[in-house]
């Protein structure tokens, strides 16, 4: 029986507009949803359970607003949902510390997570946790075969590497060819009644300071030409003005 953990995070819907108020991003009117790559992590976790037997526990860090994401994955078939309750800012060191502690105390054999979260885009959590636990890891997995250990496909220079990885281990998941399942009414009803296991955490204080958050500098307006013949002008500009060809 494999004790499987999957890390999920709520992020702004990727279609949403990001606004700055003062010198911080203001998410108060933004719709939050599960980070897109985490959906692949959840699917892999569920397939691992279906293949080898075991339980899947979804873990998130955040305030009670994040319960929605946990209930969403509960509706897909995750067994347990855990929220490490925290409402302030954590840097990568703080976040990975509390997650690694939770993984250790939960006695997990394998951790799945998305290859990066849609808000920070960092992709540090999976490998960072693995390092703290002294576990192996593979990032950006596009295909996973389950057995005693894992057989993981991930991009490498010039193609793909297929490598074996023994458990315990952490795998961060890219899209690949798996199809993500959808929840059904029964699952959603069950998830509604499900209890979130809320745990308090005390992360080490951040070693970086957020100075400000700003809009990206506006790009100067480009040149726009009508008609196919302008492709010649553009080619010339790429040589003379942009110096890129």
């Amino acid at each position: 029986m494999v004790n499987i953990a999957v890390l999920v995070k709520q992020v702004p819907d990727t279609n949403s507009k990001i606004q700055i108020v003062g010198d911080r991003v203001d998410l108060s009117s933004v719709k939050m949803e599960i980070s897109p790559y985490d959906e692949f992590a959840v699917e892999n976790a569920l397939q691992h359970k279906e293949s080898e037997g075991g339980t899947v526990t979804a873990i998130t860090v955040g305030n009670d607003g994040a319960d929605k994401v946990l209930k969403g994955v509960k509706a897909l078939g995750v067994d347990n949902i855990v929220r490490l309750d925290y409402d302030g800012y954590m840097d990568s060191n703080g976040l990975q510390s509390v997650l690694a502690d939770e993984i250790k105390s939960g006695g997990y054999d394998v951790v799945y997570c998305g290859k990066s979260a849609a808000d920070t885009g960092a992709g540090s959590t999976g490998p960072g946790i693995a390092e703290r636990l002294g576990w192996g890891s593979i990032s950006n997995a596009t295909e996973i075969k389950f057995g005693e250990g894992l057989m993981v496909t991930s991009p490498a220079e010039g193609g793909d590497a297929i490598a074996s990885l023994s458990l315990p281990a952490v795998v961060s998941c890219d899209k690949g060819s798996i199809k993500v399942r959808k929840s059904n009414v029964k699952g959603i009803m069950m998830a509604k009644r499900a209890q979130v296991d809320v745990k308090s955490v005390s992360p080490p204080s951040p070693t970086i300071t957020i100075v400000s958050e700003v809009m990206p500098p506006a790009k100067p307006a480009g040149k726009k030409y009508e008609g196919a013949q302008s492709a010649q002008t553009v080619a010339q500009l790429l040589r003379d003005e942009a110096n890129v060809i």
């Binding site: 885009g121 540090s124 490498a156 070693t207 008609g227 060809i245």
Partner: protein, 310 residues
């Protein structure tokens, strides 16, 4: 000033030119820069001492560097690197390695840095819809996006110290599946020609390939193209759920410019858009926009490139 350590970026077993950009970034974050070169043969590091701005080269020699293994690489490079701010490239592999190095040293990792000013580091957040500026209160590991910092010159001369290192492998490579085409991957290319649903059929991507061959470019795609056509693999997808690219030139053909596509390519130095719809959002981000169907515009572009590039 804090000491800095640059981990050399390698491609095809050689030190990649982005390493010089990392050295420039290191100079903005601290001083006394040590370049650490992961290698199986120390000869790889022979010429590294010429990069201007470094004070020392350590050729970290180990058989673990034959193929990438995050755990073993982190262990070996950590032991080879002095303390200070560690700087790597923001390639997928180096970001993974950076996260492990930071965790090993219980410090923070700041990924995808696109600017440094007076000790403040800028990174894109929310797929580039905003920028976060952070300052460091001590050592950290920092990854630097390619193609942004001016590369350091090669007029220096410092010693190369060879250091035997080792680490415990956590993975065992079973098979390398070479990409079917000889073409560059979008994540490795300086120029990318991408097609979207507007290409009509996957066979029409051959017109993009023709242009790409002239430019030594990679061919990319939008998600709509990848999802619609089996022939267009996900490895070509640029965007939120595809690859983030940062080339000198990005040519978007028959791509509308959805926010999730922009997420993957908006930091390209120059963007060209070819689209028959003058209102397509991609034009708001293009340095050079061509309002025309690709059927008409690509032959003209191809001919012009042929005569320009000789």
């Amino acid at each position: 000033m804090t000491d800095t350590i640059v981990i050399a970026e390698l491609s095809k077993g050689k030190i990649n030119a982005t390493t010089n950009e990392l050295v420039t970034a290191a100079g903005m974050l601290g001083s006394n820069c040590t370049l650490v070169v992961p290698c199986t043969e120390s000869s790889v590091a022979n010429d590294a001492g010429s990069i201007t701005g470094i004070t020392k080269v350590i050729a970290a020699k180990s058989s673990v560097f034959e193929t990438y293994d995050a755990a073993a690489w982190a262990e070996a490079l950590d032991s080879a690197s002095p303390s200070g701010i560690v700087i790597t490239s923001a390639s997928a592999q180096s970001k993974d390695l950076a996260a492990r190095l930071a965790a090993r040293r219980s410090v923070s990792v700041i990924q995808d840095v696109t600017g440094i000013q007076n000790g403040t580091l800028s990174t894109p957040i929310y797929s580039g819809k905003a920028i976060q500026n952070v300052s460091l209160n001590g050592d950290a590991v920092v990854t630097i996006r390619a193609n942004i910092f001016r590369p350091a010159e090669n007029s220096g001369n410092c010693d190369v110290q060879v250091l035997d290192t080792t680490g415990n492998l956590a993975t065992a490579l079973q098979e390398m599946v070479q990409r079917a085409s000889e073409r560059l991957d979008v994540s490795e290319a300086n120029i990318i020609v991408s097609g979207g649903r507007g290409m009509g059929t996957p066979a029409n991507f051959s017109h993009l390939e023709e242009i790409a061959d002239k430019l030594g470019a990679a061919v990319g795609a939008s998600r709509a193209a990848v999802d619609t056509w089996e022939e267009i693999p996900h490895s070509m997808q640029v965007g939120q759920t595809g690859k983030t690219v940062n080339p000198n030139l990005y040519i978007a053909v028959g791509i509308s410019g959805a926010i999730q596509h922009l997420a993957g390519m908006r930091s390209s130095k120059y963007i060209v858009a070819i689209n028959k719809d003058a209102e397509a959002p991609i034009f708001q981000h293009a340095d050079y926009g061509i309002v025309a169907s690709w059927e008409d515009a690509l032959p003209v572009l191809s001919n012009s490139l042929a005569s320009l590039l000789g």
